[in-house]
Amino acid sequence: MDVAIEVAGLVKRYGDVTALDGVDLQVPRGTVLGLLGPNGAGKTTIVRILTTLLQPDAGRATIDGVDVLANPREVRRRLGLSGQYAAVDEYLTGFENLDMIGRLYHLGRSRSRERARELLAQFSLTDAGDRPARTYSGGMRRRLDLAGALVAHPPVLFLDEPTTGLDPRSRTEMWGVIQQLVADGTTLLLTTQYLEEADVLADDIVVIDHGRAIARGTSDELKAQIGGERLELTVSDEDRLEEAVGVVTPLGVAPPVTDEHRRSLTMPVTGGVKALRQALDRLEAVGLEVDDAGVRRPTLDDVFLTLTGSTAGDDEPADEVAS
């Protein structure tokens, strides 16, 4: 297997806090790995180490066959990084931002300009290209930042939470842009807090929690592990919640989780709509009134509930250092 990113036993400590506790990763060339985890899980720390911004305390990593610790400058030639917050210079125009990055990759004056125009066109920024970036919307800044990561056609790309803070429309646009890139054969490591995003973009997903990989596999494999859709029901009468649990449990792939305060239950099911209809029929048959009912896709919380038994982001203050 041709591996583009290889990581073994990565450890990073900040004083007493262990941000990374022995992480191993392998990303085959031309594929997308999604690092999924809550804030402070250690995702950004991994990206910072792999992009030479941070030294690990133990472990080793290679990018495109080059050792990250031994030869950081050579590694920098082969990677593009687009960060959690868009690192564009707001006083420069879109064109000037990209041109500057090209010059710093030593592409030369004319090639840098040419490449800047190409990327502006590719990211639908041509019209805004000569305006200072501070006039851009959040989505436009992210696209410009991503374009910056692509200036030198790097074979390996790192995107750290590329859509965090974007509105739903900009997020969908960003996904489209990323999918196009990947179709061209770029190897991508992407971090995200959104299961849906990893589902859409990643070939393989590694779930990170407290600096460790707690699960890995394709999106389908993970879903099989955590169950597919979630059936959510809210009953009218708080006192009959337990009764409702008894009625619907046989329809699920795992027992439901209840929230008495909201008079609701959540249960993993397969064949969502069918399960929903059956549940409503059964509840009606015993005369249980339902206020709200629906089927939804699993969220990061569901993944964590299933894998660790606690909600994503619980007891995290110490890990803030890592993000």
């Binding site: 911004l53 941070l54 920098r76 917050y85 210079d89 420069l92 010059r103 990759y105």
Partner: protein, 270 residues
């Protein structure tokens, strides 16, 4: 990485910083307005008290070199605040992930601040000429006076670069440097002749490099002290102000450029 790459990278970064001056002209307006205000305040509020017989004319002549020195030292704050801002906005991360010369971010920044200082000195010279300041020497001496001011300012820029990376908050940098720079530029011969200061302060002022750069500029512009009392300071630093200023500048760069470089490599590693 060839020398050419290192120079190219520094030039690219410097150009990027200079574009900011063009895009946010208010920044330049305010960095030049405050020294203009200082010139006018000191010249017309204190001038009469310090130099009663001449109605302040001789004092204004004396004052200008002091304001030049104060302004370029204050201007170095921009270096620190600019770098702190870049760290905060993640731009330093982007630079550090590029295969560029690591030194370029700092040399580019300090060099663009020299250009900034040149513009500020031109504006202030014009203001000075309007209130009666004159260069009474030759063009070459005057030019060397300006260059010496710029060299000293460049050195102070490296101190601020280190601070800006150490404390990556533009607001804190501005306030912190104020506390240092105010006494540094006031306990000196910038605004009053040194022999009017109380004894111990006089010694501090004599050896303060801001005094020597001011004294050197006065010497090179031909601007004598008003009301000479005859008590000319005999401190070595003020007898050889040009040499003393150059020694300080070299020492400051030799100490703070490596410190800033080390801090840059660590900057984002938190």
């Amino acid at each position: 990485m060839t020398t050419l790459d290192v120079v190219n990278d520094a030039a690219v970064v410097a150009k990027r910083n200079l574009i900011k001056i063009k895009r946010v002209p208010d920044l330049l307006v305010f960095t030049t307005l405050s020294p203009i205000m200082f010139v006018l305040l000191f010249a017309y509020v204190f001038g009469g008290a310090i130099d009663p017989s001449g109605g302040g004319a001789a004092y204004r002549e004396f004052l200008i070199a002091g304001i030049f020195a104060q302004t370029v030292v204050f201007g170095a704050t921009n270096t620190g605040a600019g770098l702190a801002d870049d760290v905060k906005k993640g731009i330093i991360d982007r630079f550090r992930s590029l295969p560029m010369a690591p030194s370029a971010v700092l040399t580019g920044r300090t060099l663009s601040d020299v250009v900034n200082n040149v513009i500020v000195l031109i504006v202030m010279s014009i203001t000075g000429l309007i209130v009666g300041w004159r260069i009474n020497t030759g063009p070459l001496e005057a030019l060397w006076g300006f260059v010496l001011l710029l060299i000293f300012a460049y050195a102070i820029s490296w101190v601020m670069a280190w601070l800006g990376l150490l404390i990556p908050s533009p607001e804190v940098i501005n306030n912190a440097s104020f506390i240092v720079i105010f006494p540094l530029t006031f306990v000196a011969n910038t605004f009053v002749p040194i022999d009017t200061l109380p004894g111990p302060l006089q010694v501090v002022a004599e050896w303060n490099p801001v005094s020597s750069v001011t004294e050197a500029a006065r010497e090179l512009f031909g601007n004598p002290a008003p009301n000479p009392t005859g008590n000319v300071s005999t401190a070595w630093s003020l007898v050889h102000p040009q040499l003393y200023t150059l020694i300080w500048s070299v020492v400051i760069v030799a100490v703070f450029a490596p410190l800033a470089g080390a801090q840059y490599r660590r900057a984002a590693s938190r």
